[in-house]
Each structure stands twice: as structure tokens, then as C-alpha cells.
């Protein structure tokens, strides 16, 4: 068997290896690996849903753990995620800040009234500039931010009960609870 006739088979074998690796990782296809993870969250400051004259900013949340959750009333998958967030809020391990993205205030308020409000506070990003500044591609997406303001994890889609435990709770310090100052409801 002349060696050069084995070249096609060799190239094909390499191709199969690449495809096997691709299959293995296909869960993450199309899902962006956020380059911001491990870095300080870009500064954000957004108006509150229930009082647009006041705002909440990343600066104000320094010294606390928080989850920043982007959602919208137009987003079907956010409904699937909602019960998980409500359960997480009852757990009170970490506060969840909701960002109502590209939405109408009235719609958001009635949505929360209807389905329950898991958020310690809700802010609005009507124009979507903050979302882009944080590299948000679709809803829902969530960030876990530590007291130093560093993004320790980003969930690029729906948070499930398992992923909440596996990715979020696992990264929190053992006895963390929601700070008393950040009251519930907004």
C-alpha cells in the first residue's frame, strides 16, 4: 500500500475528530461565551420601574452580591424562567435585580402583579443601550455579580432549578443572605 494513497483516509480521520469534538460541545453552539466574565461589570445606571425619577446603579450595589436578570413581557422564555426566580427569591440567598428590557412600564407592572415579583428592585432599559454595553444578546440573560463588582458568572439563557443550584448558589459564599436594606417589591 503506497503511503500517499492513505492521505485521504488520514485527512478524513482528522475531520471526524473535529466533528466529534463539535458534537460534544454542541450545547454551546450559538451561545456566546461572554468576554466580560471575570471582569468588572461595566458601569450601569437605570431608572426604577416604579419611580422613573430615581435610579439604581452598579455603584450603589457595591459591597453586595446580586443577580442582574434581563427580561421582558414580550419574552416567552422568561415566563418559563419566572417560577425559578420566584423560588430563588423565597430562598433569599441573593437578591435579584430585574432589568425590564425594551418594554412598556405599564405592561411590566401588570405582568409582575399577575405572575409575582421575584425582584428586590426592577429597573428599565427602554433603549437597550445598557443591554448592549453588557453584551446581552437575547432574553432572558442573567449575571452573577460579587461585592467587588466583578461578573463571576453569566447565564446565557433560561435559568433552570438545576442551573440555579449548580452555577449561581455554588458560587455564593456559604452563609450569604439577601441584605436587609434591599427591601422586596418595587
Amino acid at each position: 500500500m503506497k503511503p500517499r494513497f492513505l492521505i485521504p483516509l488520514g485527512v478524513f480521520a482528522a475531520l471526524v475528530v473535529v466533528l466529534i469534538v463539535g458534537l460534544k460541545d454542541s450545547r454551546t453552539v450559538g451561545v456566546l461565551q461572554s468576554p466580560l466574565v471575570g471582569h468588572r461589570i461595566p458601569d450601569w445606571s437605570l431608572p426604577l420601574l416604579n419611580d422613573p425619577n430615581r435610579s439604581l446603579s452598579a455603584q450603589q450595589l457595591r459591597g453586595q452580591w446580586y443577580v442582574l436578570n434581563f427580561w421582558g413581557t414580550w419574552c416567552y422564555a422568561c415566563r418559563a424562567e419566572h417560577p425559578v426566580l420566584l423560588a430563588a427569591q423565597r430562598d433569599a440567598r441573593v437578591q435579584i435585580i430585574g432589568v425590564d428590557w425594551k418594554d412598556e412600564n405599564s405592561d411590566a407592572l401588570s405582568w409582575l402583579a399577575q405572575l409575582g415579583n421575584p425582584y428586590a428592585q426592577v429597573v428599565t432599559d427602554k433603549a437597550g443601550d445598557t443591554a448592549i454595553n453588557l453584551g446581552v444578546a437575547a432574553a432572558p440573560e442573567s449575571f452573577l455579580v460579587n461585592p467587588e463588582g466583578v461578573i463571576v458568572y453569566k447565564e446565557p439563557g433560561v435559568i433552570t432549578a438545576q442551573s440555579w443550584k449548580r452555577e449561581f448558589l455554588a458560587r455564593l459564599p456559604p452563609q450569604s443572605t439577601v441584605p436587609a436594606a434591599a427591601g422586596s417589591g418595587s
Binding site: 466580560l36 443591554a131 448592549i132
Partner: protein, 148 residues
């Protein structure tokens, strides 16, 4: 059981269109400066719509694409260079947002591949032609009919 499977499929499809507004937006906004407009059009064809399956910003109806386009117009008007605009978006969305891979050492294999392939092809061609030219016999009876 089948209904569950069907429902799961439905949810999967819905997840794929999770954030799509019912309204579709062909973007009629332009920049007044024709030079900036030209740069703008170049950029939006080179950048991916991050929510779509394989469309550029120019060809996407997704709301987030409209937002990113608006931001790009703003950055262009503020005097940012193409490089700065792309760097900003890559720092937020990773290299995935680029349709044209960066010309970097990391991507050398990608951009070099076509050249390497062409080189290999040329080498193979030269070898075969040399080999066959040496085998040419003077009797052309075998091809006279073909060439008539």
C-alpha cells in the same frame, strides 16, 4: 408522552425566537455624512446579528440588531474609528460578532488555509505534469481520433 415530546419541541422553537418582537424593522435611518454612511454600511455588513442564526446586522430584523445599528451610528457620529467600534463590540460579545475573522496570529491558520491549499495544489500539479510529460511517446495514433 408524545404530547410532552411535542411540547418540548414547541418550547425549543419558542426559545429560539424568545426575544423577537412582533414588529419587523427594516432600518431606514441613515447618517447625513456620506463618508460616515459608507463606513456604516460596511460595518453593518461585517458584523453579525447576535440573536440571529446567521445574518449580518444589515440583514436582520431583530430589535437588538436595530439597537446595535443605532449605537454604531452614534459612535460613528462621535468620531470613533471602525477599529474602536469593532473592539467595543468584541469586548462585549466576543469575536463571534465578527463575520470577518480578525487578521491576527491566532487566526493565521484560518486565513492561511486557502493559500496553503493552493500551494499544495500547485505542487501536485507540477509533479504530475512533469511525470506525464516524460511519458509522452511520439506515436499520436492514440489521440488522432480524439483531436479530429
Amino acid at each position: 408522552m408524545r404530547a410532552v415530546a411535542a411540547a418540548a419541541g414547541l418550547v425549543l422553537t419558542l426559545l429560539l425566537v424568545a426575544a423577537v418582537h412582533p414588529a419587523w424593522a427594516v432600518d431606514a435611518a441613515t447618517l447625513s455624512d456620506p463618508v460616515l454612511q459608507a463606513r456604516y454600511e460596511g460595518l453593518i455588513h461585517e458584523l453579525r446579528c447576535v440573536q440571529c442564526e446567521n445574518n449580518s446586522l444589515a440583514d436582520s430584523d431583530a430589535p437588538i440588531a436595530a439597537d446595535v445599528r443605532r449605537q454604531i451610528r452614534g459612535m460613528l457620529a462621535a468620531g470613533k474609528s471602525d477599529r474602536q467600534i469593532k473592539d467595543y463590540l468584541v469586548s462585549r460579545y466576543s469575536e463571534f460578532i465578527l463575520f470577518r475573522p480578525e487578521y491576527s496570529w491566532r487566526n493565521a491558520w484560518l486565513w492561511g488555509l486557502p493559500l496553503v491549499l493552493l500551494l499544495i495544489g500547485a505542487i501536485v500539479a507540477v509533479r504530475i505534469v512533469r511525470q506525464r510529460a516524460a511519458l509522452v511517446n511520439e506515436d499520436d495514433a492514440d489521440v488522432d481520433a480524439l483531436n479530429s
